[in-house]
Structures are given as C-alpha cells and as structure tokens.
C-alpha cells in the first residue's frame, strides 16, 4: 500500500514539503493536505496591499496545481487534535484522517494588543489574506493610518501604506523601533529617516483603548495626547499555533521541538516553519525562526526525510531585510549577541551603518543599513550572509574589517568563502526549479 503522508498547514513550509516529497520519493505516495487557508505566501501580501500585484499572484499552489501534484486537499478546514498512537488527525468538523507520517506546519497567528476596542471596526492585524483584503478595502488615499507596533512585520507594509497615499503614524510601546531586528544606533537612523519622509513616530507609549468617535478611530494612551485616525493596523506580535497539539504527546517548548531531520519527539511526526523549534545554525541552540527562508528550508528537509531520504539540516540562519522609503535595513545571525566582539561603521550623511559581530575569527552576525540605490549595499548584504553562513575563518581579515567595516568584498573573496560555500546544498543535490515538480501520471 502506498505510504500516506499528511501535511497539516499549506503555507510556505507545507507546500515546500509537498513539492520535495514528489521530487524525492521513489514510489508514488498518497499526500493529503489539511489547511485552514488556501496555500499562499504571506510575505507577498504587502505587494497585494499596494496593488502592484493581483490577488491571484499570492497563491503558491492553486487547486489545479494541487491536483497535478496528486494532493488530496482539505482546504478551509482546521486540524483540531492529533492522536499520535492511532496515527489519526481529527479535524474541527470531526473528520478523521489517518496517516503513516505527518508534518505539522501550522505556522503562527497575530496577537492584538489586549486593549478595549481592539476587536472593533477598522482595527486589523495584517497576517492573513483575509486581513489584507479588509485593509485593502478600507485604506483610501488621504486616510490616516495608525500602525500599532514597530517590529519587522509593521515595517514590511510601511512602504505600501505610503504608496497608497495614506498618512502614517507609528506607535510603539518599546522605547525604540525595530527592537528585534536591529540595534539602537540602527534604529535611531531608521527613525530619523522615516520622520524625514513624513512618517510620525511615537515610541515608549502604551495604548490603553481604541474608541469610535464620529466615524473615526480614537486611540488613547497611558500618557500623551490621543490620536484620531481612520484605520488601525495592529502589528503587535505573533504567537505559534501550538494550541491544537495540547495533550498529543508531541514535545513542545517555544515551538515543536525537532531534530536535524525535522522530526519531533514522535518519530513519524515532523514539524517545519514558524511552528518548529530547530537548530540555530550560528549559535547551535534551539530556536524558533519565524521567517520565510526557515519555513522553506525546514519544509524541504522534512519532505525529503518523509520521502525516505536521510537529509540532515545544519540549522537555520536568521536573516531579515526590509526596505523603507528607499533605505535597506538588514540583519543576520546573532546580531544582538552582547558578548560577541564587535565593530561598527557609520556614515551619517548617506545614511549607511554597519555592525559586524565575531566569535573568534568567525563572523556570527551583522547589521547593515544603506540606501537602496547604492548597489554596493546589495552586494555586501549577500556577502555578509555568506560570511555568517559559511563560518569561514577570517584570520587577518578580521582586523582589517574591524578598521574598515565597509570593505566586505575583498575579505569575502580572499577568505575563499565561495570555495567553502559552493558544495553546500540543503538536500544534498542541486535544487530543482519551482515549475519542475513531478506531476501525477
């Protein structure tokens, strides 16, 4: 009998697992997908918001494509419980799906600030396609938008809001913006840059209430003046979708704890993406990296192992980039490691900023900030990722970089980083192009 694989969650991790299963399997298996939403990419929602792409562009696998791949799909339905002894997943509507092995890829959900009025009209999170559609419908040119929260996700939609001709105010409870993506110096530069581009920012303010006043929204704070606006977007954090696994026996910490094959504490149950707590490649410690590249790599590694291959994962690398008003802001690896050796470089006029972090002579983290039109920023962005990813010994280049943090290219090339990187692949073979997934015959 064909092996029955069950994929729970059709986001980035789930769809990458399905594609890899089809690429790697030696015998045709049965694949069932259970997903609360249709498969789409959350991270392209900002481009749907600014109307540079149509809704159809966000989908990663349409019903037609799933049929081509031979996937039995239960879309719009939720898994409610997992019985790992009986190998059965129960859906919210009571349907039972049996499996030989399964992948948990249910991602995360947004959390709104717990204030009165947070569930009211014209107050939205921006995490799902449904929420994006609501914002698209309500955001009109000239309207005043308040973004609650100044983290990475807030910043990914900032350009789109401005491009639509809205007025934007950002309010953040922490004393500074982007607290989990860049350091204080970087945050100050970005804040000044945004203010210069007409974005109002209030940090260190605690939202206490959202009220309706004459058809508009009124935000009240623990201190300081109220803000009246037309639309509130809550980007106040996310939580891992672990609840439905309670009592299942699958070991859970901050996420589902997985080994280097993406296997959970239950041998035929895998986990991938935002929900999984796997190895951080730089620190070697378990971590939840709720980012797209981790979901993609986790998903492929899980898919290959479910297909019977023995693929070991070296761990995920924290990488983030966001462009705000033509300023690129990126960070890599252990950029906030307080005990690492560091070097910084600042060109306030451009503005351009670098922070490099070392353990021994290995680059373990970096922050880079620079104008988007500056082609050298783009080059260095990739090379810094390569230095952190490869962990090459920088030897005497370390001292050079400490003095010249903007001179990354020579250090990268002369440390033979390319030589170290070239043999590495995630699946132990060259990757296939996205359109090359084997289809059902």
């Amino acid at each position: 009998m064909a092996t029955r694989h069950l994929i729970i969650g059709g986001g980035t991790a789930g769809i990458n697992a399905i594609r890899t299963l089809r690429e790697e399997e030696s015998e045709r298996s049965e694949i069932t997908l259970v997903s609360a939403e249709k498969p789409y990419s959350r991270m392209v929602l900002p481009y749907y918001l600014d109307r540079s792409i149509a809704e159809s562009h966000v989908y990663t696998a349409t019903a037609r494509v799933l049929a081509d791949w031979g996937v039995k799909a239960h879309l719009g339905r939720r898994a409610a419980a997992l019985d790992v002894k009986g190998n059965v997943c129960t859906l919210e509507d009571g349907t039972k799906v049996e499996y030989d092995d399964c992948l948990i890829a249910t991602g995360s959900s947004p959390v709104k600030a717990p204030v009165p009025g947070a569930d009211g009209r014209a107050v939205h999170s921006f995490w799902t396609l449904d929420e994006a559609q609501a914002v698209v419908a309500e955001l009109t040119p000239g309207s005043h938008v308040v973004m609650v929260g100044a983290g990475f996700i807030a910043f990914t939609i900032l350009n789109s809001i401005l491009a639509l001709g809205a007025k934007l105010t950002i309010v953040e409870v922490a004393p500074r913006i982007l607290p989990r993506m860049i350091d204080d110096t970087g945050a100050r530069l970005v804040e000044a840059w945004l203010k210069k581009h007409g974005v109002a920012i209030r940090t260190g303010v605690k939202l206490t209430k959202i009220a309706d006043v004459k058809g508009r929204k009124q935000l009240k704070f623990a201190s300081g003046a109220d803000i009246v606006c037309d639309l509130v977007i809550m980007a106040t954090g996310i939580t891992t979708n672990l609840d439905w696994l309670k009592g299942s026996g699958v070991r859970v910490n901050h996420g589902v704890v997985v080994d280097d094959r993406q296997r959970s504490s239950v041998p035929n149950v895998y986990a991938a993406g935002d929900i999984a707590e796997g190895r951080d490649r730089v620190t070697g410690e378990p971590a939840v990296h709720a980012i797209e590249p981790t979901a993609q790599e986790h998903g492929r590694v899980a898919g290959a192992n479910m297909a019977g291959k023995d693929v070991r994962y070296r761990g995920s690398l924290l990488i983030n980039i966001v462009e705000v008003c033509h300023l690129d802001v990126a960070s890599f690896g252990a950029w906030d490691d307080a005990t690492a050796e560091t070097a910084t470089g600042l060109k306030a006029d451009r503005p351009a900023y670098r922070k490099l972090l070392w353990r021994g002579d290995r680059l373990t983290g970096a922050i880079i900030l620079g104008p988007s039109q500056d082609i050298w920023t783009t080059n260095d962005v990739g090379m810094l990722k390569g230095l952190v990813q490869s962990g090459v010994s920088l030897a005497r280049w370390k001292a050079h970089l400490k003095k010249n943090p903007f001179d990354v290219k020579n250090a990268f090339i002369a440390s033979k980083t390319t030589h170290t990187l070239l043999p590495e692949t995630i699946l132990g073979r060259p990757s296939k192009a996205p359109g090359d997934t084997p289809v059902a015959v």
């Binding site: 990126a330 390319t418 060259p430």
Partner: protein
Amino acid sequence: MSVLKIYPEKCTGCLRCELACSYMQTGEFQPAKSVIRVSPFEGHTSYAPYTCTQCAEGWCMTACPVGAITIGAVGAKDVLDDTCVGCKLCTIACPYGTMFYDPDTRKAFKCNLCGGAPACAEACPTAAITYEDVATADWLGDFARERTARVLVGVS
C-alpha cells in the same frame, strides 16, 4: 552546463564586461546595472570580475516566495520579471552577493548567462572571462588571497 570561468590574472580592469553586460541586460550602457562587477584589489593594482556562480543550491531561487526564479534553457538561474514582486528576499538569501535589485523597475535581477551567449565573455579583450563547459568554482579566491597579502601587512 557551461559557466563563466574567470581568469583573474588576465583582467586589466578595463570594465568592458560591465558595459557589455548592462547593455545586454537593460539596453543601455549603465555599469550600475551590470551583474558582473570588476573588483579592485590592493588599492587598484589588480582587478578581477565577479559574478553569479550559478551555484547548485540556487539560494536565490529556493528562497523566492513566489517562484519567480527559475532555471533557463542553458541552466542559468533567471528571474521572471512578471512574477517577481521585488521583495528582496533573494538578495539576502544569495550568500555570494550576486543578486541585484533595480529600484527603477522594482525587480530583482541577476546573471542569466545571456541565454547562452554571455556578452561579458565576448567583450573581454584579454579573455579573462570565458564561457566553458566546466564545473563552477571559486575562480578568484587564490588570486585575491595573494593580491591582498600586502594590504594586510601590518594588520595583526
């Protein structure tokens, strides 16, 4: 497959490859939009062109959330303009620093081997860039290590 093989010791730093590349890729001579870049070493006493290795993983391709990077007929990873949303994920995923972003078109771009007739290799007067059926490799590492030794003198 054939790849761009670089002979760094032959490069004189004339930058014709950058001009040819930008013309081929964009229809204009604008080296800022070339995807092959000549790097100076040792205070501009040596040069070498640097571009995408067409690496086996294709980190740019696997990272793209919308499948906008594919493998073309000659084996090069290539960006499909109509599909690219300009999210820049590929620019930080490529660990070689050879994915680019064009702020004018809001699309990513990269070396696509000009569909099998690379303009840079044709333009190079000293054959420092050739298009050969060899395995891709670190063409510049040893050269750069040697040519930068003096820069590092005095640095402990």
